[in-house]
Symmetry: C2
Subunit: 170 residues, 2 copies
DNA sequence: ATAGTCATGTAATGAGTTACATGATTGC
DNA sequence: GCAATCATGTAACTCATTACATGACTAT
């Protein structure tokens, strides 16, 4: 049930429509919690029913602007501080690693080499984002930079691991 | 559709029943692709319908032993080498990080400190598994050790990041 | 006028989780 | 005899993805 909290979190910075949120997800949360348009509108409806958000304004083209309610804020804080983050994270990449015996060593090394390359590429992309977000002083930018740093460290580790793993295969 | 490939991968090491697979998942794949009993039996049915596995033996208590077929092996290899691993990985932990402005700095530091502790604990658990799997010379153990090393490096990175992040909050 | 963007909603499908339901065999 | 383990299957529910469907406003 994290989509709900992602929406609440974005609304905690100020009111927004479903359309606004969709763009906000794309620029800020796309790497940690992607959401589709369809999902957003459905979730906003449920959140409104549950009283965690309310329609704060209506505009042209049926635009509905949502604002987080007090209950919504309470739920968001509760989720951040009291609900345990999920432990197990599925990885279809690591799953493939378990089965590398099925393909021949050359292919297995190529597989790991590609992972290393892609990690390097992802790291470079994140560096690009960094340049973009560096200036922002809004909460999402400030804390987003912590998440960004996680990504930089993670992609480094991933590349180093893949390079190491490639050497293990003989 | 990775559960299907996880099952094919395990069956590539030899025939097994749903019950056997459930235990295999628990001891080998639980950290990269957990599966429930319910899911397994359903998937085995679908795999059999699709001709990727076949019932190779029947035993007491309605036990059905499944073996991977040639088509199954082909599909497994295709998945490993040609299908791109998923890029975006949802993280409800990092999602919380984006919203740390919602709670006060003391709580935010405590949140990050707990993440560091848990990463250290997870690392220690993995070390324990390492002792256990060190001896194995079957394919799953050999390649599982690569995945295990990933886990060790990842938990280290996570701990270091969380300690760093904690210091960023003032 | 018309292209671009703003804006919302529904339906179908697939995947994962939890709970329900049942029964046979084995070892003590 | 009985507890533990072996063994399979189904149902309800939630979440995420893709596709379908529609229409209003704005700037040129």
């Amino acid at each position: 049930m994290s989509l709900r909290h992602a929406v609440l979190g974005l609304l905690s910075e100020g009111p927004a429509s479903g359309y606004d949120l969709l763009k906000l997800f794309d620029v800020s949360l796309s790497n940690v919690w992607p959401a589709t348009q369809s999902q957003l509108y459905t979730e906003l409806g449920k959140l409104a029913d549950a009283g965690l958000v309310s329609v704060s304004a209506e505009g042209p083209r049926g635009r509905k602007e949502y604002a987080i309610t007090e209950e919504g804020t309470a739920e968001l804080r509760h989720w951040i501080t009291e609900v345990e983050p999920t432990q197990v994270r599925r990885s279809d990449l690591l799953l493939r690693v378990f089965f590398l015996a099925e393909i021949d060593p050359d292919q297995a090394r190529a597989f790991l080499s590609k992972i290393a390359d892609e990690a390097a590429k992802n790291r470079a992309d994140l560096e690009g984002i960094r340049g973009f977000v560096e200036a922002g002083s809004d909460n999402l930018s400030v804390y987003g930079r912590l998440a960004l740093e996680w990504g930089l460290r993670f992609t480094d580790t991933q590349r180093e691991w893949a390079e190491w793993a490639e050497k293990q295969i003989r």
